[in-house]
């Protein structure tokens, strides 16, 4: 079981959405993330840079045919931090006696 650890970096609203998407995937394209989160290129780049600097995300550039493709993946450290953050959120909710999270999470 993952130890609860609230992570301020992840919890910022846009980054929480971004990391949640990345945590569900092995990789995701930059374009996909931008569209799903309804962000501009620069706004998404800024968020990704913050995650990259913390060692939470890795950005890879490759070519598919002649088309440049930028994909993003969470690192092991990022996945661990996300798991700890989720556990911390669940603990806060559980301590308050709320039953907001689905049964599958317990």
């Amino acid at each position: 079981m993952t130890a609860p650890r609230f992570d301020e970096l992840i919890h910022a609203p846009t980054r929480l959405s971004l990391v949640s998407l990345l945590a569900a995937t092995d990789w995701a394209e930059f374009r996909y993330l931008r569209e799903q989160l309804d962000l501009s290129d620069s706004a998404l780049s800024k968020q990704l840079s913050a995650l990259e600097q913390a060692g939470y995300a890795e950005i890879r550039k490759s070519f598919v045919g002649k088309r440049a493709r930028t994909s993003v993946t969470l690192t092991r450290r990022g996945r661990d931090a996300f798991a700890g953050h989720v556990a911390a959120l669940q603990e806060i909710v559980a301590r308050a006696g709320a039953t907001v999270t689905p049964a599958a999470d317990h």
Binding site: F6, H11, L16, T25, A88, L89, E91, I92, A98, V100
Partner: protein, 159 residues
């Protein structure tokens, strides 16, 4: 644990956001609804072409099948812009896929041999038709089941 300055309601909202985003990623990875009838239709057309035993029809059918399948796979691959974690599927999801494929194979072979035994013409096409129709009618159910399996996994579980 680092003491956070957020309320239980804010924490619950964050968990809901995490779950919604994961469901969004899952939806992006699943095959679209048109995939199943398209594959089923191609399969039936190809089998029928082969069963005519006319070389030119077999050739046209084979090329058409290859091109059609290639176009389908390309279309699905192009819209595939994120790879959902395989462990979300789990053993249950894997078994569901294997079970579905085996059922389709058994249905196709069973109905094909039954048609042959009954002396019907085009038995292989009948078998493929049964399989294709089943795919068209039930493929979305498999997709829906896989979605529910993946969505039911605990969030934040890592690998």
């Amino acid at each position: 644990m680092t003491e956070p300055a957020i309320s239980p309601t804010a924490a619950a909202d964050a968990l809901t956001e995490i779950r919604n985003r994961r469901d969004q990623a899952i939806d992006a990875t699943l095959v679209p609804g048109w995939y199943w009838p398209a594959v089923g239709g191609l399969m039936v057309a190809f089998t029928a072409a082969v069963e005519t035993a006319r070389p030119w029809v077999v050739a046209v059918g084979s090329v058409g099948y290859a091109l059609g399948l290639g176009a389908l796979v390309t279309r699905v691959a192009l819209r595939h812009r994120a790879q959902v974690r395989n462990d979300l599927l789990g053993v249950r999801g894997g078994l569901a896929i294997v079970g579905y494929v085996l059922t389709l194979v058994a249905l196709g072979l069973g109905s094909g041999f039954a048609a042959d035994a009954a002396g019907l013409s085009w038995p292989a096409t009948i078998g493929a038709g049964a399989t294709g129709l089943t795919m068209a009618l039930s493929g979305h159910r498999l997709t829906g089941y896989l979605r529910s399996v993946m969505s039911a996994r605990p969030i934040g579980g890592g690998r």
